[in-house]
């Protein structure tokens, strides 16, 4: 995994923007309609999800040395 993905669930409204713009299909929505990591290994740390999250609920940090 190249990244650490942090989700602030209390902020997430489940709009799906992050899911849609993830080029590697890393993210999905849970039963409760909140973002969750479904395929973390594929994350390339592009942070497109973080960039357009209207609720500041998802953050991506590149792993050191990754």
């Amino acid at each position: 995994m190249k990244s650490t993905i942090t989700i602030k669930s209390e902020r997430c409204k489940g709009c799906g923007i992050c899911v849609a713009f993830c080029p590697k299909k890393v993210l999905g929505l849970s039963e409760l309609g909140k973002v969750q990591v479904e395929n973390g290994e594929s994350c390339i740390a592009c942070a497109q999800c973080e960039l357009r999250c209207p609720d500041y609920a998802i953050f991506v940090d590149k792993k050191e040395g990754a």
Partner: protein, 278 residues
């Protein structure tokens, strides 16, 4: 590994989040672009910057931002901001407004803020609709689009506030979208450079009141529409006229000029009257 807290978060009133905007609303993205732009200006601090807004979805932004903030009456953000700037020219004043707030009820204030070149940076969150009241047409609703008060589609041409701002005397005019977050932040950052009236239109998606009514899909679909139809100004200028049709629109800096701002110009009045310029 603990996530490093994003530095722009210090400009949010954490206890007020999550904000009240609908899932997928672009206002949150535009608000983040503003604090990202403020971060690029170390001279703007939480103590010397005032955020002023009108009424509408956009204008709720002020309550989430950890500065002195003023949520005024509908359309009146610019007059309040003008008073603040005249009283305290040392304060940085940022105005957050919407398409209805700025171009309908506040239209005259907008024209005259441009004309005076009062040193404010105004960011218009354009969601093409009155969202707070449930989806009525605004002066910026595109032709043919539906709203609860244009159930058969809008038949009036939308207003272009950038063209209006240029004509009325604003000295910095730019546009970007919620899709182009870094670009939007850059447009605002450059607006903050200008000591004069700066106007930035931020096109944002309203999935609830506008997108749904006009079958524009998910919030992500609406962002993708911005991606697919926005053309950088430099490329836009080279396009033949027939290619400028349809839904395509330019983004970028439309005007970046210099002219004395109103509060500075007023110092001449003070000197002529024999007063003391502070």
């Amino acid at each position: 590994m603990e996530m490093a807290e994003r530095s722009y978060e210090k400009f949010f009133r954490q206890h007020r989040l999550p904000h009240m905007w609908c899932p997928g609303c672009g206002n949150g993205i535009a608000m983040k672009a503003i604090v990202m732009a403020i971060e690029k200006h170390p001279e703007l601090t939480a103590d010397n910057t005032v955020i002023v807004s009108g009424i509408g979805c956009s204008s709720r932004a002020s309550g989430y931002m950890d500065f002195d903030t003023l949520h005024t009456a509908h359309g009146r953000a610019l007059p309040f901001a003008t008073g603040i700037k005249m009283a305290r020219p040392d304060l940085h004043v940022i105005v957050i407004t919407g398409d209805g707030d700025c171009t309908a009820i506040g239209g005259n204030h907008f024209i005259h803020s441009c004309r005076r070149n009062i040193d404010l940076t105004a960011i218009l969150f354009n969601n093409s609709i009155y969202g707070m009241t449930g989806g009525q047409t605004s002066p910026m609703t595109p032709m043919g689009k539906k709203a609860t008060t244009t159930p058969y589609g809008s038949v009036a041409r939308p207003l272009d506030p950038s063209a209006l701002a240029k004509a009325a005397g604003a000295t910095y005019v730019a546009r970007s979208t919620a899709y182009h977050v870094h670009h939007l932040a850059k447009m605002i950052e450059q607006g903050l450079n200008n000591k004069g009236f700066s106007f930035i239109e931020a096109i944002v998606q309203c999935p609830t009141a506008y997108g749904r009514k006009n079958k524009m899909g998910t919030p992500a679909d609406m962002l993708a529409w911005m991606r697919d139809n926005a053309v950088m100004k430099e490329a836009w200028d080279k396009l033949p006229e027939e290619k400028k049709q349809g839904e395509k629109f330019p983004i970028g800096v439309f005007l970046d000029s210099r002219y004395v701002d109103y509060a500075t110009a007023y110092n001449d009045v003070i000197r002529a009257a024999g007063g003391e310029v502070k």
